[in-house]
Symmetry: C2
DNA sequence: CCGTATCAATGAATCGATTCAAAGGAATTG
DNA sequence: CAATTCCTTTGAATCGATTCATTGATACGG
């Protein structure tokens, strides 16, 4: 049982294959009467165009490869959704690859996508794959780096300025009149954590009399945040920071939990609190959490657009777009 | 600048195209010496097999279409990841479609996937697309329904038994000796809400003296849960349920927030609390939340397996797999 | 009525990999 | 040495849609 092809349609309608093709691609090249007959046959036979054959002829597929570190992470699922939306607008589909931080799988997907002749690859790299990507690009497949520094400028890229985010959060605390700032850090091998701290330090340096303390959390989780919170609660009132900036929302929520549970410190009166990422739960926490929002959707959309740019003009120089994160003020700093 | 093809490799290595193809697909049909020469040429020219051409010849692609309601929802992103893992094991890729509950977009993706001749479509349907799916299947593309009742048994399907989940949650509360159970419902047009309530009712009916009250929340969100919590806190102690089962974790967390904030009711002593979905935040709530876990990863994997089953034996009868959700006991019911 | 311009329709060639019948060559056997 | 078997390699045919030079038909102007 072979699927019906353009040939079947042609013979059923009593025309040549080229005519059927024209009906599908350039309807007004075909006389109305003929077009009607062909469309009838298509409906009658339940013909569905074989895009594989079309792609072979065209030498171009209608899909874009997207390789993310972890699709279970809201950052990437939101990004994927946006990319997928933007691609759909251009009539393209997104093929998803989840590397799960595994360089092996990452390479596997690059291979797969190259064989499938995707138009381009949007990738949030995990391994050291500069060479592989260069080879890929050398053979004509466009590459856009996502949530990753631009590197050598060889490829277009989209990223978010974490230093600026750290600055923004800390400046906000300082603007509220807080002077004893503490940064709750996660593991320092995450470049995000380092950059956010750098931004915080910069903001503090600009204000005379402001101090910055670094509290090291073991992890970027709610639990780790809770133990930082416990430590804070047990301190002398005088030794307390009056402004707390956490490396991500999970830490901030953990701190908030331990603090509100014991009822010894009031947020934001005694201590103002800022998180990072603006996850869905930030808004619905016991005390709604001020946070730094990353424009995930915009990142995904921009990645697709940068790709489109490269496809339209293969000679175009790669572009790097760096987004500025955004401060979202809520109750945890509203006092 | 055309990409290098099998022909280029053949002439470079001084063999026929068929031989190159054999090296790629049946290496031991080719003499070691020849094979070596061909592999050399492949490496030298940087040849990458064009999967589009291969697919055309084979009449079969190496991809699976996945259409979900919302990839931003952790349920679906986890499902997608698992599907994608399972597909990768079989050497296949997953093409992602996000319908966003929009029947229009859903149809668009079905069309796209059929044109791309995907091996099969895994779909969590939103619109009334029985006919479209039947047509699709009639032309040879396999269909597996995901997180959706089996319907007429025309297609294979994977789903979770929400009634059983509701029963499980409520039975757990009853087993703890609680007798005044309340169910916090969301909008009743979600079949999940209805089924969970039905399960709860069933469990209550089995225990003499147990009562079931239904509290209607306007939404399945933390905020809606918080107003239900406020209402509970304002009640006479005597009128309080001692066991509360919420239609999902967000509601449960909302209730928990308002209750712990006011410190009038203790969880689980005064009121035991059970949620549904076991989202990541359930475990890290102020009082760790007992919940009903849905095996999202297993659902995704099983969907791919059911598809594989259909592909291997096109005559095989569609199968429906129904998973039983699982009770995860934590502090909110541990007393 | 002829020449020309316009519009439709045709169908062979093409994309690149796979398949498979056929041929070539080496080795084995009687 | 001829016959047979086994192992390699060959290359035309194929998948299905698109392209484009060519043909055929019609209309129009002079």
């Amino acid at each position: 049982m072979r699927a019906t092809s353009i040939k079947d349609v042609a013979s059923h309608a009593g025309v040549a294959v080229g005519t059927v093709s024209n009906v599908l691609n350039y309807p007004d090249r075909v006389a109305a009467k003929t077009r009607g007959r062909v469309l009838n046959s298509i409906a009658e036979l339940g013909f569905v165009r074989n895009d594989v054959a079309r792609q072979l002829r065209a030498g171009q597929s209608r899909s874009i490869g997207l390789i993310v570190l972890d699709i279970g992470n809201p950052f990437f699922s939101s990004l994927a959704r946006a990319a997928e939306d933007a691609a759909a607008e251009g009539g393209n589909a997104v093929v998803l690859g989840n590397s799960g931080h595994d360089p092996q799988r990452e390479l596997h997907y690059i291979d797969l996508f190259e064989e499938q002749r995707v138009q381009g690859v949007l990738i949030s790299p995990t391994g050291d794959i500069g060479k592989r990507l260069a080879a890929l690009a050398g053979r004509g497949t466009k590459v856009v780096l996502v949530d990753s520094p631009a590197g050598t400028g060889e490829f277009s890229s989209v990223s978010v300025d974490d230093t600026s985010g750290g600055y923004l959060a800390t400046k906000h605390l300082l603007d509220l009149g807080r002077r004893h700032i503490a940064f709750v850090a996660g593991p320092q091998h995450f470049h995000q954590v380092r950059d956010r701290l750098a931004g915080a330090a910069q903001a503090v340096a600009e204000v005379a009399g402001a101090t910055l303390e670094v509290l090291q959390a073991g992890d970027l989780t709610v639990l780790a945040g809770r133990s930082v919170g416990d430590e804070l609660v047990s301190r002398d009132r005088a030794a307390l920071p009056d402004g707390l900036f956490c490396a991500n929302d999970l830490l901030a929520l953990g701190v908030m939990q331990s603090v509100t549970m014991l009822h010894t410190l009031r947020i934001p009166k005694d201590m103002a609190l800022v998180g990072y990422d603006d996850i869905d739960f930030a808004a619905s926490a016991v005390v709604a959490l001020t946070s730094i929002r990353q424009p995930t959707a915009l990142i995904g959309r921009t990645a697709v657009e940068l790709l489109a740019e490269q496809l339209e003009d293969p000679e175009a120089k790669p572009r790097s777009v760096v987004f500025r994160p955004e401060l979202v003020v809520r109750a945890s700093t509203a006092g």
